[in-house]
Amino acid sequence: MEAHAAAGIELSGLTKTFRGPNGPIHAVRSVDVEIRHGETVALLGPNGAGKSTTIDMLLGLLPPDDGTVSVFGRTPREAIAAGAVGAMLQTGELIRDLSVRELLEMMASLFPSPLVVDDVLELTGIADVADQRTQKLSGGQTQRVRFAIALASDPELLVLDEPTVAMDVEGRRGFWQSMRELTSRGKTILFATHYMEEADANADRAVLMAHGRIVADGPTTEIKGMVGSRTIRATLPGVEVAALEALPGVAGADRRGEAVSLNCSDSDAAIRALVQHYPDARDIEISGAGLEQAFLQLTSEPEGVAVAG
């Protein structure tokens, strides 16, 4: 058991291709990720990046076309049988005609050493609806029950696929609070999200996926820096792109007719230099890059950029 506990999660060369109406869909292309025991990792990426497919393969729900999955030194199936993995899938409703408590008891009974149901109810904040039938729950309560089911086996690894998507602000706050409790207990957590802010607030490390590939992997602060670049747009005829790129804080520049677009690593330095050197610049806009755009940037780089983490 000790040797297994030391090993973490290893995805190696994971590949999955689906048959689409217009040809093959390369959902996951040779993904390599290692997650150490006790880490909290955000799997970040826009919709269609391949996050859910990767998670399905991690959980043994989908056989990979190539590559391997190792969960604490075992196959997904072995890890699940040992109660080492709990997951909250992206979609799925609860079966009806059981109370929340009964449903949790039923699920807990399937595992070798589950948590006490009352503890799970407390941890996930659903003790007040414990005796309600599942079909009577609100959307947010249903999500919390699904979270409780994931916790029932007392897993070492928690996998959450877009866990807060159906939750309101209150629910989200409560959810991440429970997660912090779990992190302090040494759980390994992997959650998929398409919100940079959520990854930033709750994970030590972010793995960026786009078009089935990992384009970046490192501490959340560094990823945020890559993703959080801002763009300055202005109408400024007559200045060469090279001159604009030489401005401090400017990573790259484009010209389209009279308009220029500056991709900035430090937009504050860039805007100061711009208005100082080129006071003719007008219709100036500064905007955040947003995740989608950032991914386009990152995926146009050759082979993606890996940040040592």
């Binding site: 729900l61 199936r77 709990g86 409703e93 079966i95 009806r96 009964e102 039923m106």
Partner: protein, 246 residues
Amino acid sequence: MSGAGLTYTRFELLRIVRNRRFFILALVFPVVLYFLIAGPNHDVKSLGDTGISAPLYYMVGLISFGTMSAMLSSGARIATERSVGWNRQLRITPLSARAYFRAKVVTAYLVAGLTIVVLYVCGATLGVSLPAGRWLAMTGLLLIGLIPFAALGIAMGHVLTADSVGPAIGGGVGLLAFLGGTWFPITSGALHGIAQALPSYWLVQASHIALGGSAWGVTGWLVMAGWTVVLGTLAVLAFRRDTKRV
């Protein structure tokens, strides 16, 4: 893990009992039908020239019909669970295929068993009375005769969608019951030959032990064993295709 499997079965049963709509349909429907048909004829001591009283004849007919429906209803439950993605949720638990099948088959049998008991009681109220040995022999052979239907229910549940499984079960049971001779015996012609190849025919034969009929001969056992193997294989394949485990 066998203890865990039983807990799962227990909760499955709880869910079925609490699903009032289903329970009412499964039990009330045959009872109402029975009293509608056999009630007005309750003093008919000999149906046609069979020598069998109407209440007895219709009781056994509805038992075949009701138990067939009960077994196939597991398919309806499975299809519904699949439609809400519950089967995926189960795949990330240690619930073995065996424990899963056990829960589905045991609960289907309990509903079928209840159907039988309820209809016996209804028959008794209309004066049906049989020697104890015959009750037992009939019940025993009926329960065996339902095995292929247990498999069929599971197969249907894993192949059909939640929308189509209802009509499929309704139509299927209707056809099988008719060809099996639930409502009236099919004794001649090509249809008789076809009917004898169907599992419902032999289920009805089992129920006719109450009417003085005999237990299955070799043909009956062979046909039922064959169907059990075929439908059982289909059920396992459908389940595996639906739950590709890695």
